[in-house]
């Protein structure tokens, strides 16, 4: 009998740990404003920001600058509150960056720079994109 309950207790303890740790490690979707506030408060946790690349009046993407040695890229992103932010990404420019209709950056502010560790691109799906010729 005792063994049974000890095991049940351990199982519950592990399950609770899993849930708490997931809640603790889960990231969140925020705006640049909120991300900046978080960083100022000393919380270095990585967050997700959803937005688009900055475009001029003609709809051309502007502000994308691959580095001289092509090993990294910086771009200007507009979040859902229309706030602009330059984002640094320490990987070569993703080939479909310019075509993306939505960008999700995962990263954080470091010394007033927003550094993305990961960039997820949502490109127009082939169903919308393709015209029949």
């Amino acid at each position: 009998m005792k063994l049974k309950y000890i095991i049940a207790l351990i199982v519950i303890a592990v399950a609770v740990t899993v849930i708490i740790s997931t809640a603790g490690d889960a990231s969140s979707y925020v705006t640049f404003q909120e991300a900046h506030t978080l960083a100022e408060r000393g919380k270095a946790a990585k967050i997700h920001v959803v937005g688009q690349l900055k475009k001029d009046e003609q709809g051309e993407v502007i502000g994308v600058e691959p580095s001289e040695d092509k090993l990294s890229v910086s771009f200007v992103m507009v979040d859902q509150n229309n706030q602009e932010q330059q984002v640094y990404y320490n990987e070569p420019m993703p080939a479909d960056l310019l075509r993306s209709e939505q960008v999700v950056v995962i990263g954080s502010y470091r010394n007033e720079h927003f550094v993305a560790d990961e960039v997820l691109l949502k490109c127009p799906s082939k169903y919308q994109e393709q015209e029949i010729s």
Binding site: V11, V18, D69, L71, N90, P94, N111, K122, C123
Partner: protein, 863 residues
């Protein structure tokens, strides 16, 4: 003319197979509920016929869809969006499962096959009616997903049909307004990532795995329904093990495909789509263990029922996750949303609720044994192992479901912005590592509680030799591998312990009865998988670390993590222990055993046909001559990189692949240098834009004399020869024309290039044919000939020379992972065979000691 017949036929097959499955379900249920044997039998015979008809109609659906793809009927949306004229036949099969409708079809197809097998093998057993009732119901739900019918009156669309005409999907396209019978000439093609032989065999395996989880579930439900609470386990157990083998194989094939084809640097990424299969697999394996406990001493029956049902429900849940579009941003490769989420949710809830209600009603009737658990019984340790597997699964389930929590909160009007953990690999690893340690420890120790009940004294005797061996081997491995992380040391040690302990058991069985060895072989496989993952992932090393010293943000510490290296063509660069030289772009020509240099092939208007500008021979065999038309695979470019070991001087060449896809941008596939102890994994992470998109500088004029050296795009160049030519490609020379060709040697790193611009005079008019080297980013034009000064005027235009950005990762001992996988599958196979024999020849074989269920149950489990 549009072929509407085949589509209508296919759609008719879909609808009638749906109806047939409903009829079969109704008849099987009625047969199960009949108390009169004769009536029950006649209903069962009728149901069986209905299921056969259903199966036949499903084959008809598959045949119709294949007919459409095979005959390039691009008036159909499915063929147009998933296939193309140049697609080889073996990839046409992959078209089936690129689309969501086709993958449902594949799943339905496997259920039909499994249903046929079950009907055949259970004719006499009395299981057919209730088991096949569950099968037929599931088939009805799945068939409804591809029904594509609008219910009149309430305008509710049920399912998405694969037989839609393009004009019915693209109702807005102007071309159909002008000509409703318009047929596109070519399809848009198969996603290039799927044009890989793994994608021909991986989805069928995975879906067979999905489909087989239905069998133990159906037996379990049938058992509860017919109040045969215990006897369902015998027929269900071999199927559960078979299912774990196939599903596990499917998962690992996916991992291997990802490793070989995708460029995210590994075989497992903790993407929700991957997790969605991993979660039910773990529970399935746990259920196998509790089923074995039950067979051995009659306990853990209720736990087994719960786990078998949970496995199937989790399969439905994972279907819902990956196909309803709920994952949204969380996953990079879930299916496109077809608006089926409501239908999928009903499917999930129906079987979840039905199974829970049924077992709740009968719960009190299910026999339990109130026996005390003993820490010295084998069953106790197996049970703990199953518990760990369930916790392992739970730990992945909780974060994978984050998008679902958001959806639920938002459905109730709240706002939820929880995102998955930012560093998924680190997050999952910190838990899964400990679970792995527990599993290795348990699977090693559990085996020693084999024949008899154990006591501390015997255990000590049994364990001492394996323990000593483990310590010695682990110590050597830790020192040799320079493992310093304490958790890694722990995992390494327990994995080696598990291999040795199970190896000892295996030696015992190898002599007596090999059929019993399934368990120990599987456990050795699992321990090897742990070791393989530990080294290949824990000690994977980026070798392409940027050593150029260039800092990108000079005012910022963020220039860590520069894990890529830029390689200019023909310029050697140090990388780790190697020196690398990028040699240029290559293509794969049909019927040529090696890759061919792109610069000796001139493109034509047809992408897959090119014209050779030089003869090409390899190892003494000539493959094509100058001027020949050569067939190539135009979508793939291979980048030849020569590696030289700086210490040993040994050389090898890798050809990582790139595809430029209008829809997906750059798709890079790695090339892997495989050696026994480590893989060198190399892929390109950026390439220059296509030739047409390059920007050229303004032309610079230069006076050069014969033999004089000059600089062009930073390369040393020299005019070596001027000759009169009698033929110029693309121009018909006439009487009195004068054509002159200049030979200009350019030293491009360690390779010499020859550019030959042409100068043509006809009736005092001058024509100039420039020569371009894409690799050097150089275009030379012979502008003028000045006989008085004895010099020549060259026009020099430049652009970016050829380069690639490369990432290279070293993965030690990854082969241990693949070998472990094969062993695991083999172990499952042996166990399946044994349990199947158990079911079908219960009396014909002498019961072995291990599976003797009637032995005095001294201290069995009742946890």
């Amino acid at each position: 003319m549009i072929n509407t017949l085949i589509g209508n036929l296919g759609h008719f097959f879909v609808i009638s197979s749906f109806v047939a499955s409903l009829v079969a379900a109704y008849a099987y249920i009625t047969s199960t509920l009949q108390t009169d044997t004769v009536k029950a039998q006649s209903w069962r015979n009728f149901a069986r016929t209905a299921f056969y008809v259903h199966g036949g109609l499903v084959f008809g659906v598959v045949a119709s869809l294949f007919f459409i793809i095979y005959n390039h009927l691009f008036e159909y949306h499915y063929a147009w969006s998933h296939s193309s004229l140049s697609l080889p036949v073996y990839y046409m099969i992959s078209c089936f499962w690129e689309g969501q409708e086709g993958s449902f079809l594949l799943w339905i197809f496997w259920h039909v096959i499994l249903g046929f097998v079950l009907i055949r093998t259970n004719r006499q057993s009395g299981w057919e009616a209730p088991v096949m009732a569950v099968f037929a119901l599931v088939q009805a739900f799945l068939a409804s997903m591809i029904l594509g019918t609008v219910i009149p009156g309430i305008e509710l669309k049920v399912g998405s049909s694969p037989f839609l005409l393009l004009r019915d999907v693209m109702t807005d396209a102007p071309v159909f307004a002008m000509n409703p019978d318009f047929q596109p000439e070519d399809g848009t093609g198969l996603n290039p990532l799927l044009q890989n032989y793994w994608m021909v065999i991986h989805p069928p395996t995975l879906f067979l795995g999905f489909a087989t989880t239905l069998v133990p579930f159906a037996f379990c439900i049938a058992g509860i329904w017919r109040r045969k609470y215990e006897s369902w386990i015998k027929p269900a157990l071999p199927w559960a093990i078979f299912s774990a083998a196939v599903l596990g194989l499917g998962i690992m094939m996916g991992a291997y495909w990802a490793y070989e084809t995708l460029n995210f640097g590994g075989y497992w990424n903790w993407d929700p789509v991957e997790n969605a299969v991993y979660i039910p697999w773990l529970v399935l394996v746990a259920s196998i263990h509790t089923l074995i406990i039950f067979k051995n001493n009659g306990t853990a029956l209720k736990t087994s029922i719960v786990l078998v049902i949970t496995t199937f429900v989790l399969i439905l849940y994972s279907t819902f996750l990956t196909r309803s579009g709920i994952l949204g941003n969380a996953s990079v490769h879930s299916f496109t949303d077809l608006g089926l989420s409501g239908q999928l949710l009903i499917y999930l809830l129906f079987f979840t609720v039905a199974a829970i209600v049924l077992s709740a009603i009968r719960w009190k009737e299910i026999p339990t044994s109130e026996k005390e658990a003993s820490a010295y019984s084998r069953e106790f340790w197996i049970f703990i192992g199953a518990t760990v597997l369930c916790l392992m699964s739970f730990q992945v389930l909780v974060p994978t479901s984050i998008p679902v929590y958001n959806a639920i909160v938002e459905a109730f009007g709240g706002v939820s912005n929880v995102a998955p953990p930012a560093d998924q690999i680190e997050f999952y690893t910190k838990f899964q590592l400990w679970f792995a340690i527990a599993i290795a420890l348990l699977s090693g120790t559990g085996q020693f509680f084999f024949w008899r009940k154990m006591d501390p004294e015997k255990l000590k005797n049994e364990l001492s030799i394996p323990l000593i061996l483990t310590l010695i081997i682990s110590a050597i491995a830790i020192l040799a591998g320079q493992v310093t992380n304490p958790v890694y040391i722990l995992l390494l040690t327990v994995s080696i312990y598990s291999i040795i302990a199970n190896g000892k058991i295996l030696l015992r069985f190898g002599k007596t009865n090999f059929q019993l060895a399934g368990g120990s072989i599987s456990h050795i496989g699992i321990a090897m998988i742990f070791l393989g993952i530990l080294f290949s992932a824990g000690y994977s090393k980026v070798v392409s670390v940027n050593e150029s010293g260039l800092l990108i943000f000079k005012d910022d510490p963020a220039n860590e993590n520069l894990e890529n290296t830029l390689l200019w063509i023909n310029e050697p660069r140090k990388m780790g222990e190697y020196e690398l030289i990028y040699k240029g772009q290559r293509v794969d020509a049909r019927d040529v055993p090696v890759y061919v240099d792109k610069k000796i092939l001139r493109p034509t208007e047809t992408p897959f046909l090119v014209v050779a500008t030089e003869d090409f021979a390899y190892e003494g065999t000539s493959y094509f001559a100058k001027g020949d038309t050569v067939q190539i695979h135009p979508e793939n470019t291979y980048h030849e990189i020569q590696y030289t070991n700086r210490e040993t001087g040994k050389q090898f060449t890798l050809y990582p692949r790139s595809q430029v896809n209008p829809n997906m941008g750059l798709i890079a596939s790695p090339d892997i240098r495989r050696t026994a102890f480590k893989d060198l994994y190399t892929h390109v992470s950026a390439i220059p834009p296509e030739a047409e998109e390059k920007e050229w500088s303004e032309m610079e004029e230069m006076d050069v004399k014969m033999g004089e050296q000059f600089f062009a795009n930073d390369y040393v160049a020299q005019l070596t020869q001027i000759e009169r030519v009698d033929a110029v490609e693309g121009v018909e020379l006439q009487e009195g024309d004068l054509a002159v060709k200049a030979h200009i040697q350019v030293m491009g790193g360690d390779t010499e290039y020859l550019l030959q611009p042409i100068y043509l005079i006809r009736d005092r008019m001058v024509g100039r044919v420039p020569d371009t080297s894409q690799e050097l980013g150089l275009r030379l034009t012979l502008l003028n000939i000045l006989p008085e000064q004895n010099s020549f005027v060259l026009g020099v235009e430049t652009t970016q020379k050829e380069y690639i950005v490369l990432k290279a990762i070293e993965k030690p001992f990854i082969n241990v992972l693949w070998i472990g996988t094969l062993l695991l599958m083999f172990g499952f196979g042996v166990a399946t065979y044994r349990r199947y024999q158990d079911y079908h020849k219960p009396a014909g074989r002498k019961e072995t000691v291990q599976s003797r269920p009637q032995k005095p149950k001294n201290k069995p489990v009742s946890v």
